[in-house]
Amino acid sequence: MRLFSDRHHVAELLAYLAFIAVVLAMPAMMDVFWLNRFAKYLVYGMLGIAIALSWGYAGVLNLGQGLFFGLGAYMVAMSLKLQSYTSLQQGSDRPVPDFMLWNAEPGAPTELCCITPGSWLWLPFQTTWFGIVMAIVVPTVIAYAIGSAIFRLRVSGVYVAIITLALVLLVRLLIIDFQPITNGFNGLTDLGWLTVGGFEFDPYMVETYYLIAVPTIVVLLLARALVATRAGLILQSTRDDANRARYLGFDVAGYQVFFFAVSAAIAGLAGMLYVVAAEFASPTFMDLTFSISMVVWAAVGGRSSLLGAAIGAVLINTIEATASETEMLQESWRAIIGLVFVLVVLFLPRGLAGLSHDIVARLPFGKRRRETAAGAVANPAE
């Protein structure tokens, strides 16, 4: 790969640097209230990166990314729930989630082991580190298992989308149905703050912002490095023509499973960080609407550009938040978002990243790369 050999690479590099600079400088521009919000949008940006990896690079449209986000969120939320003072105030010597006590039968033991059937599942979450590690491990393992099953059977395209969609709804229903240990529809609320090495991360604090911003930048850069590796290139050839890649002797399913799992790990991390900033986890994370929204953000930003997808997510959410607070737009902003979305799919199928790519190509200075049809196919990632 000829890095920085033409204006597109220079433009890409500048865009990455600008994004990182803006993200790091944000605390200087905003109060803590907005900073907390912006941290959540960065988490959405991470989800955009996860979608771009699996959709833009692997060609696998996952309509159930909320599953991995939600699992990550629930894992860490279980730990933080046991750290919260509402669960400490309940009179038992070890903390028990308050909703379990409300629902417990009178006279039942108020211990995590046996307050309700299945409540022993919460036992290891008494260690916060367990929740943090599981927030990444559980989504990755589940994605690996599902991915192996789907891709080895050569399920592709729309069918992957439908399977993932059914899956996220299935898990959502299970979480709602296992009310005694998950608090059902209400989700886990009244969480404690994340405490690492004696330091408490108050969600409305600059340190907490960096706790979210730095991993976002790291994930962005790692993902960018990953797609430039040999594995990433093989993956893109798989997306463009799976059979061709198979003929060339590549283990197509293996690469797809790997990237599916990486994308799930990123989503799990995003879910975990979201809980730190938002202080709750609920089944709405696994709603169809949320999973499709992520895809929408990535599409608006540019599905095959990692940075574009991240910026798309941050941008749409910031605009939504601003619009919903502007009096004139208060009622119609959702409709406008819907309209914008239709227009993007119709007129900007490569999203904002594609648009800026075209603009860079028209700039009058710098070395012009020869734009051939083959070149455009080989490098759709910009």
């Binding site: 439908i162 299935l170 229903l173 599409a299 004139m328 009622e331 959702r334 819907g338 119709l346």
Partner: protein
Amino acid sequence: MADILFIGLSLGSILLLIALGLMITYGAMGVINMAHGELVMIGAYTAVWCGLLFDMNMLIAIPVAFVVAGALGLLIERLVIRHLYGRILDTLLATWGIAILIQQAIRLQFGLTFFDVNVPGLGPGLQNLSVPHWLNRPFDVGGFTVQPYRSFIIALTLVLVAVTWWLMYRTRFGIQVRAIMRNPQMAAACGINVKRISALTFAYGSGLAGVAGVMMGGFKTVSPEMGQALVVDGFLVVVVGGVGSLLGTVVAAGGLGEINGVVASITNDILARAVMYGLVIALIMWRPAGLFSFKQR
């Protein structure tokens, strides 16, 4: 047991009503229409509106809803879908945007505030559709309680399936639609006006959604969100049955409806749906092309 099977059958026929339209548009044109649920919702609102403004009976509202939803479908096809043929995942995304748009338009009573359009009687409030008395009185036949409204839905579904079958397999229009399903280029080369037939097909599928909406209105409260949950179930039916297969869609809808009904009677509604989703995932993995599918190309 007969009661449970009967409930399963009526669940299945509602699934079928919704899936029928999706099957036609997906099978014929490769369009995943996420706004289908909103067309169902429009059908339900049309019935509400007919009742409010013209004091119209629910039964008379059925053809009106068919026309209204069909016309809206035609509009969507003309404005958006026409430009997206062959980009199947993009149709999914664009129609999702349309779904949001329609939902909000209804919630604001068509009134994007600055246009200042207001239609009284609609809006975000939950509506109820009154089912005619004679459809609401259960009666006993030999120890078996007959629910007239559920029976009516099953009967209407059967009629619509028959009409669709007739349209697809016994008319010139149907031959052209099936030709487009198999190979649009070849069909165009043979002189079929693919654009026109596709638009009509989409309008017909949308019309069926409108009718499904009127039926749903008799069951559930009519609200702007009612469509969203339906479209997913409809899709699962279409995919399990085999894209473009009328028989497959009927069998899949019946099967999933029965499973849902039976499991719900043993455990609860939530778990029943979870079991249904699990089964669908297993089925798609086992036979990605669906239970009844014709060989393409």
